[in-house]
């Protein structure tokens, strides 16, 4: 399989209570916005906000399993959090290849995480891949 500009992948996920507890244990992040529902409601949110790091774990899934896949090595990620994602909401990550360079073995992409009509996060990625897996439009 070769990678070209315009290739895309979609991945659906739900962040549940178990994932929240596991990430809290892993990261040690005990920010009240992620753990204290009263604190979150005082600030205008309907519930605690899921950890952004878990969303990045799902981005990692897309990059490692779908595009560029098993032979890719991530070299840069960016993320902008735009709306809260709450525990139990179904989210979809949409990834699209935006630039490829066969000479350097670089694949760049952009992604958007949405739930319902809300855009939760957007960002970009850059990965190194074997150049023979890259296809450049003539």
């Amino acid at each position: 399989m070769t990678i070209r500009v315009g290739d895309f992948a979609t991945h659906e996920f739900v962040i549940d209570e178990a994932a929240m507890r596991a990430f809290q244990a892993l990261s040690g992040d005990r920010s009240r916005i992620h753990c204290d529902i009263a604190y979150a409601r005082e600030r205008g949110y309907k519930d605690v906000i899921t950890y952004g790091g878990i969303m990045l774990a799902h981005l990692s899934h897309v990059l490692g399993v779908k595009i560029p896949g098993a032979n890719g090595t991530s070299t840069k990620w960016t993320i902008s959090y735009r709306e809260p994602l709450y525990v139990g909401e179904l989210a979809s990550l949409h990834f699209e290849v935006t630039h490829v360079s066969k000479a350097t073995g670089i694949v760049e992409g952009k992604y958007r995480i949405v739930t319902g009509t809300r855009t939760v996060a957007t960002g970009t990625t850059q990965s190194l891949v074997p150049p023979n897996e890259i296809e450049v439009a003539p």
Partner: protein
């Protein structure tokens, strides 16, 4: 500073943000700690995107200084 050098200098300032020395045609990777093999690849991709050009693998390996890169960009801009 000529136009191409100025544009590439902007990329270098962004990409190699720990380097605050002068950016001239004589600049080499050895003078910029972040300009390692991955940094070189990222610089080439950023230049390709900004300038709307494409390099070949042997070109990328041939640049000994920033001046070589600037000259290659200018040659490609003239050719297109």
């Amino acid at each position: 500073m000529d136009d191409t050098l100025q544009k590439v200098a902007g990329i270098i300032r962004d990409l190699f943000d720990e380097y605050d020395g002068p950016i001239t045609r004589d600049l080499t990777a050895a003078s910029v700690p972040q300009w390692d093999s991955l940094g070189h690849v990222q610089l080439m991709v950023a230049v390709e995107q900004l300038m709307g050009i494409r390099f070949k693998s042997d070109e990328i390996r041939s640049f000994a200084s920033l001046g070589d890169l600037i000259d290659a960009i200018d040659r490609k801009k003239v050719a297109t």
